[in-house]
């Protein structure tokens, strides 16, 4: 049994659980749509603020944020499932049965990716239906979704590291809150140049800002920090991979 067999089994089970349980699947689908509606609909006047210059318009401006947010929370929600598996002792049986335990993390990552793909498809469809303007070309669009995909994987690895260390769903806020804060400390509502005060300082230091600005740049056809954004996304992914695999070792040691 190779690492792929383990990954395939874990991914299949996780996806079956998610897609056959409305209470698990619906929130990860509805909440991004809801945030998109609330921000793009309720705050569309913000694009008339002096200095706001984003040619595709405010709907596209918010779409990029919500796309990255859905990617991050797709990973975190899958982390909740890992914690639940540990709490109900399923993960113990999984650890015993898996000859290659790295496949467990890979399986959860594949499940998070598939789960987010459904959410992203729905979100993109709704955004296009309500008239979102995309100026960037096919390469930019590929860049946008690749960046979001990397965010999804990084968030999953972060959440699985927490889940495998605490092995309880009570660690849910520890998975969720830092992601929520990092996302909202980026320039969510207006470009970085229009931020003032403490949030400007925080947003400048926030690594997610480069990702968000580049995502918005892809939609506008003029991405500003492609290398930096992908560097940050891949760097976070690698760091959290180390965090997740050490978490797995911790779970193994706990028995």
């Amino acid at each position: 049994m190779t690492i792929w067999h383990v990954a395939e089994g874990v991914a299949w089970r996780t996806l079956k659980n998610v897609f056959t349980n409305v209470s698990l699947f619906l929130p990860s689908l509805i909440f991004p749509l809801f945030f998109f509606t609330a921000f793009a609909g309720g705050l569309s006047a913000v694009d008339r603020v002096p200095g706001f210059d984003y040619p595709p318009g405010y709907t596209a401006f918010q779409f990029c944020f919500v796309l990255l947010q859905s990617a991050a929370f797709g990973g975190v929600f899958t982390g909740f499932g890992i914690a639940r598996d540990f709490e109900y002792a399923f993960a113990k049986r999984l650890l015993i049965a898996s000859p290659n335990r790295s496949g467990i993390i890979l399986g959860y990552a594949i499940a998070a990716l598939v789960r987010w793909t459904v959410t992203a498809t729905m979100l993109t469809t709704v955004a296009l239906i309500v008239g979102m303007d995309v100026i960037g070309g096919p390469v930019d669009v590929v860049g946008l979704y690749t960046l979001a995909l990397l965010v999804n994987v990084a968030a999953l690895l972060w959440a699985s590291g927490i889940a495998m260390r605490f092995r309880s769903i009570q660690a849910g806020p520890m998975m969720q809150m830092p992601v929520f804060l990092v996302l909202f400390f980026a320039p969510v509502y207006v470009p970085l140049s229009l931020l003032t005060g403490w949030i400007e300082v925080v947003a400048h230091a926030n690594p997610l800002t480069a990702l968000l600005e580049t995502a918005r740049g892809f939609v506008a056809g003029d991405p500003p920090h492609v290398l930096l954004a992908f560097g940050v996304a891949i760097g976070l992914g690698l760091a959290f991979a180390l965090w997740a695999f050490r978490g797995l070792r911790s779970a193994e040691a706990a028995g």
Partner: protein, 259 residues
């Protein structure tokens, strides 16, 4: 109110408050989360105050109204969940073996919720003063704001209690939370209604009662004394309270009959 009834209400209110205080997860998030969201939103949307017609030059002052309503939603859902737990673990059944009146149960539950609502209001006001928000309506406005918080807490508290008694399930009460969140976000919480450009969003915000609750608090903070906003706010909050009290009374009667 007889002495016996007052004693019963006091005992149940004390139990509810003590139980809440012993679980920080029940009372910390309703204080911290709305405050954090307000600070983050007001930092990000400060430049929106440059829009022509925006009613104030401080988005923080504009946004300070939101935690009052958001916090009330949080707290009352939590209180409803606790009451549902009482149903689930059989506390209500045991209570029926005592001379305790059903109405005392509801009054005790709501007493605790209202008291916590006042604590929340004072906390948000203190945060507002610390971050430098001027309170346009002055000291009398603070009293009116606390009174408003009591009516809002009573309304949402009775709604949470009614749901708990009707369903007897904490999960069902928590299941209402996303719906209340929708009401909060698709309101005038981040933008005055006259500046919302999307017709459908402005339409929903206009028929959404949460908009009037937020605008009532907001008027006291940034306008001063706005009779229309106050009348609409107190009117909507009063209607919610009356509806919720009737709903929860019927739910209680049915629940006690069942048990």
């Amino acid at each position: 109110m007889s002495n016996v009834f007052a004693t019963q209400v006091g005992a149940l209110a004390t139990r509810g408050i003590t139980r809440t205080m012993r679980q920080p997860a029940m009372w910390v998030p309703p204080l911290v989360f709305p405050t954090a969201l307000m600070l983050v939103n007001s930092g990000g949307l400060e430049s929106a105050t440059h829009l022509p017609g925006f009613p104030t030059d401080s988005f923080l002052a504009f946004a300070l109204a939101v935690p009052f309503i958001q916090g009330a939603l949080f707290a009352t859902m939590n209180a409803g969940t606790e009451l549902a737990r009482d149903v689930q673990i059989g506390f209500l059944n045991r209570l029926q073996l005592t001379p305790m009146r059903g109405s005392a149960l509801l009054a005790g539950q709501l007493g605790g919720v209202v008291l916590y609502g006042v604590v929340q209001a004072i906390f948000y006001l203190a945060v507002g003063f610390v971050v430098g928000v001027d309170f346009a309506a002055g000291p009398l406005g603070l009293v009116v704001l606390l009174l408003f918080s009591i009516v809002v807490s009573l309304g949402f508290g009775a709604l949470g209690a009614g749901l708990a008694l009707r369903t007897g399930s904490g999960e069902a009460v928590q299941g209402m939370f996303p719906l209340l969140f929708v009401f909060l976000f698709i309101s005038s919480m981040n933008m005055p209604r006259n500046l919302i450009e999307q017709d459908w969003f402005r339409g929903f915000a206009t028929i959404n009662p949460v908009s009037y609750l937020i605008e009532c608090v907001r008027s006291l903070i940034i306008v001063g004394w706005d009779a229309e906003a106050l009348a609409l706010g107190f009117g909507v909050a009063g209607l919610i309270a009356v509806f919720s009290l009737v709903f929860s009374s019927f739910a209680l009667r049915k629940r006690l009959t069942r048990t």
